[in-house]
Symmetry: C2
Subunit: 379 residues, 2 copies
């Protein structure tokens, strides 16, 4: 299913304070945080019975701006291929909600927000660490604010899928259909290792200043670049890098060896790294990666799969060339759900683009999502 | 084949000046370098007819000390499992030679050696860049110094295998049997990307000081640690990390989330990173990784495989869980050699340990090497 038609037009980001300093969000750790302001966007119209809402949970570096544009029709939201009139999340039929995550840096309260204890400075590392369940608690507060009791669906890729899973396990009555795209319920040692290296690169950069770089005019630019370059290599497949770059050298470069950028893949990674600090915050990178390492919901006591299966059905999508959260991650989730009698389908989609496929227009994937959200009856 | 018996005893590193400032090594780039001193070790006795010599080419962070010990029998050379009496490179029968590479930091002239133009300082980035062929030119000069005309075999893993391949393609009459263990003749964009990130981490570390950190008392410690942590993740398989660490937390650690080291795999990688600067030089890391990116010998004009096939036979070994230079790299070399009528065998060995398998005691691998070097007749 290729995006057709013009897509959504101009959209606006909205903001709402869901928790205050006096009535703060209670985190799973026992700590609290308030105020919590949330930036979010909605697309489409909520049906009078409230039964057409789909909640989008974004991944590590996403934001509330999932679809449409903010004035320049060429600059469209990160999941515009998936969301809009006639698209898999069909806004002619569905009401789509997408907030920026707690701990993020695109409008929702996070570690670079002013610390209410000392509003002249940002929280920095004084911001409390949180869990995937805490991210979902904020989503649920937003849903209550919007007056919606039950979602037609919740969908997310990667870290987004983790939120959907936690939500459906904790409050299945609120999620009729859960779509987890290349998610994981249990990071491997290799997964943990790669983000450990990325965090190390950021935290050991002298520009990090123990987390108090906000407002100083310089931050951990080198560390962020290195983290991003390395992470990006894990988001794309060996095959997609070969297709895009192979061993091509930069045009016009002489044939002498150099430590400077020479191969096209180096130039591409360097660009990814250099632009990252401008569009994402180093503290948010730390705060949003760490909960993934700890996420292991099926290992928790009290998971009630009978209750989950009575209320929620699952679509798990994975991509055959994804080596960050490969199909074995989705297979593990599927196995755990199926063992508990939950209705779950796992579709392994062929795509050369690795983990990044969840952001791209892969027709078989889009068709699977569209079919699951629109045509299958609720249980 | 498990290492049996006590192995080699005490061994000594020798040094020889193979090129002088007046009679320097001419590099493939047209630049020259001299003096070039080489550190090397030998094990076993050279036969009167000189026909039992096997040359060992080390990988990125190896050195001349491949087997035996320097005084502490517990501290043994990096390939001790492969070299010694009764081992695959059987020193009761063979004369084994292993030099430190040009550009290295363990006795052979490299970028941290004194610059003859200004002996009070190290070369730094003024050291000329070189190719795999240049590494082999130094090996061949060492061989001439030792009075050996033809090798029973040349063997190397990873970067070591690249040297063996270049040697056999350029001077097949000098190499009766070539053993390439998890080598590559053509890095992928992903391979190039990972080393690009590692070099970026080193060169952007303020401690790198544009390469002039030698003698200043501090170097690019953070950059080296990050490079090593990331590279190490590519040397080991997903499965080996799972077997060693899975999701284990450090003993006694509380259950709160922390950005500090918490998972065992983080502790392991941190240790790898922290100890690396003490045992390896950042400039050597740059100079020895970059030639791998450019290495593409079958793309060169003038490769004479008929000549190669008349003089040299090949054993290619790869490991099924290696994702740095996986079996497809060896399969490519095999395909190119076989298409030219060269006698080449490719053995894909099952081993859970990924790229690192070439350093480990994997019985099927050791048996293949032993059999190839000892029992098969020369062509």
């Amino acid at each position: 299913m290729t995006p057709s038609g013009p897509g959504l037009g101009r959209v606006e980001t909205q903001r709402v304070v869901l928790f205050t300093q006096d009535d703060p969000l209670a985190l799973e750790s026992g700590r609290t945080i308030g105020p919590v302001e949330v930036a979010y966007e909605t697309y489409g119209e909520l049906a009078p019975d409230g039964g057409n809402a789909v909640f989008v949970c974004h991944a590590l570096t996403g934001d509330a701006h999932a679809a449409g544009h903010h004035g320049d029709p060429e600059q469209r939201g990160w999941w515009d291929a998936l969301i809009g009139p006639g698209r898999p999340l069909d806004t002619d039929e569905l009401f789509v909600i997408c907030p920026n995550l707690l701990g993020g840096c695109a409008g929702t309260t996070g570690p670079s927000s002013p610390d209410p204890e000392d509003p002249a400075r940002a929280y920095g590392l004084r911001f409390p660490q949180f869990t995937i369940r805490d991210l979902v608690a904020v989503h649920r507060a937003l849903l209550a604010h919007l007056g919606i009791e039950r979602l037609r669906g919740a969908i997310g890729g990667s870290l987004g899928g983790m939120q959907v899973l936690q939500w459906a396990l904790d409050a299945p009555e609120q999620v009729e259909r859960a779509v987890l795209v290349c998610a994981s319920a249990r990071l491997t040692a290799q997964n943990i290792g790669f983000t450990a290296v990325a965090r190390t690169a950021i935290m050991r950069d002298p520009g990090f200043q123990d987390g108090d770089y906000v407002g100083t005019g310089h931050g951990p630019a080198h560390g962020m670049a290195i983290a991003r370059m390395m992470a990006h290599l894990t988001y794309v497949s060996t095959e997609s890098l070969r297709l895009k770059f192979d061993r091509e050298r930069r045009r016009g470069h002489d044939t002498h060896q150099t430590f400077d950028i020479d191969f096209e893949v180096e130039s591409y990674l360097d660009h990814q790294g250099r632009t990252f600090l401008g569009r994402f915050d180093a503290l948010s990178y730390l705060y949003l990666t760490r909960p993934m390492d700890y996420f292991d919901p099926f290992a928790e006591p009290g998971v009630d799969l009978a209750r989950v299966g009575a209320a929620t059905r699952f679509l798990l999508v994975s991509f055959d060339t994804d080596w960050r959260f490969g199909s074995e991650h989705s297979a593990y989730i599927h196995e755990r759900l199926a063992a508990g009698g939950v209705d779950a389908v796992h579709e392994v989609i062929a795509s050369p683009w690795g983990h990044d496929s969840f952001l791209l227009d892969v027709p078989e994937y889009h068709a699977a999502v569209a079919g699951f959200l629109r045509t299958r009856p609720a249980p």
